[in-house]
Symmetry: C2
Subunit: 240 residues, 2 copies
Amino acid sequence: MIVNGITVADGATNALREMILSGALRPGERVHQDHLAELLGLSRTPLRTALATLANDGLLDYESNRGYRVREFSVDTIRSVFEIRSVLEAQACRIAARIGCSNAMLDELDALLQTGDDILASGELDPAALPAWRQMNVKFHDAIMRETNNPLLGEFVARTHNVPMVSDRVILWDDYTIIHRSHDDHHRIARALRAGEGERAAAIMNEHVNFAGDLLIERLRQDPEGALQHLLSNAASGGK
Amino acid sequence: MIVNGITVADGATNALREMILSGALRPGERVHQDHLAELLGLSRTPLRTALATLANDGLLDYESNRGYRVREFSVDTIRSVFEIRSVLEAQACRIAARIGCSNAMLDELDALLQTGDDILASGELDPAALPAWRQMNVKFHDAIMRETNNPLLGEFVARTHNVPMVSDRVILWDDYTIIHRSHDDHHRIARALRAGEGERAAAIMNEHVNFAGDLLIERLRQDPEGALQHLLSNAASGGK
DNA sequence: TCTCCGCAAAATGGATACAATCTCGCAGCG
DNA sequence: CGCTGCGAGATTGTATCCATTTTGCGGAGA
């Protein structure tokens, strides 16, 4: 769905999304319409529109006459979403290769690869470089997605980002080796796409996304509360 | 999103979905709130809730202060959705095989296969048997989906059904050879799942769904108007 | 005749009021 | 002592009203 941030309801939608992703509204918590409307300084009508939107996005659960609650995402659910994202992004590689990537797109990938190389050149992970890295990463995946000429595919992947912590805005920025390997995946994916090797690019992309999921879940298991808080604030600060 | 059809808004959502899928509201047509509210016998408030829901489902387009229009789906878009459905359902096979299918589920698949065999036993396609076939087909795909213990996967596949004619409720019921082959796919998928051969089941499922898409698109190209009208009424009569 | 401006009608967005439903505690009974 | 049923408060669902924006027609001027 196209969002034009002109109406009050759209503003409320964005505000609520941030509140949920940032943890201001806790998973499982019930959403009081009167209370929230007063907090946001609007009436219940646009608020309800926003709530319906977020429920359809999968961030809220709804039950008749019992209102909305913030959806709870188990670790299993997060794993599930990575499984979905991995096959969708892999399919994007197949389609892009089949159609044939444009030179403009391949050049854009090269520029993004260079950006990543520069960030990693120092041999260590500078926390200050995280936002730039995140932006590079999002653009890289977006560029492939756009090249498919399959807007639905992009829509579906965007939906996976509605699950907290699955977004490619969330990066585990603490292990140089892992990040370096991840960027090496980017290099190999770009090379495969340039060569028209769709299945090869798809295979790399599939593992690329799946491993990110495995890593995230491992961290969540090791330190559920700490990792969760850190990652949520990480995501919230990366607003699009 | 869970829909419990208790409220007026939920009823309006379902009514509108049928109107769109059945073609009562034509693609590109503008949706007048006052007019529709009167037609459905309710006020604009629940109607607007329903419109917002369907817009998020992707059946309507929305623009601020200019209301809703019925979304137009090109043939390319339909092709795109089959590409998405094929990889998602294939992934469902992988997951189900990895986890290991329960005996209850395998028995259910066997019963559904038998139902299909019985319908095909006559050696020709009886139009009267279409609803039973459609039900069998939906249940077969659903059973695999449920076995993944990945509710998100089912949610995502359900979203693909919001695109007219992509739903597995829509069957091209005119070529015995093709239907027979399709059911043979079902047999092979079930056998592979029983044997724990996830990748094999996934490969068959992928082709199974993709071919259905190719077939549908070929028909749409041959006789755009006729096939479209026939299939839409086909889908509308198959309400869940 | 064409274009542009402006106003009026229509349609949407939002606020408020009212109805229906649920929640939860308390009292009465077994 | 625990369970059931009732009722008041809280909360959600719907209707109606008003404000804002869009749209389209018509007239004035070039």
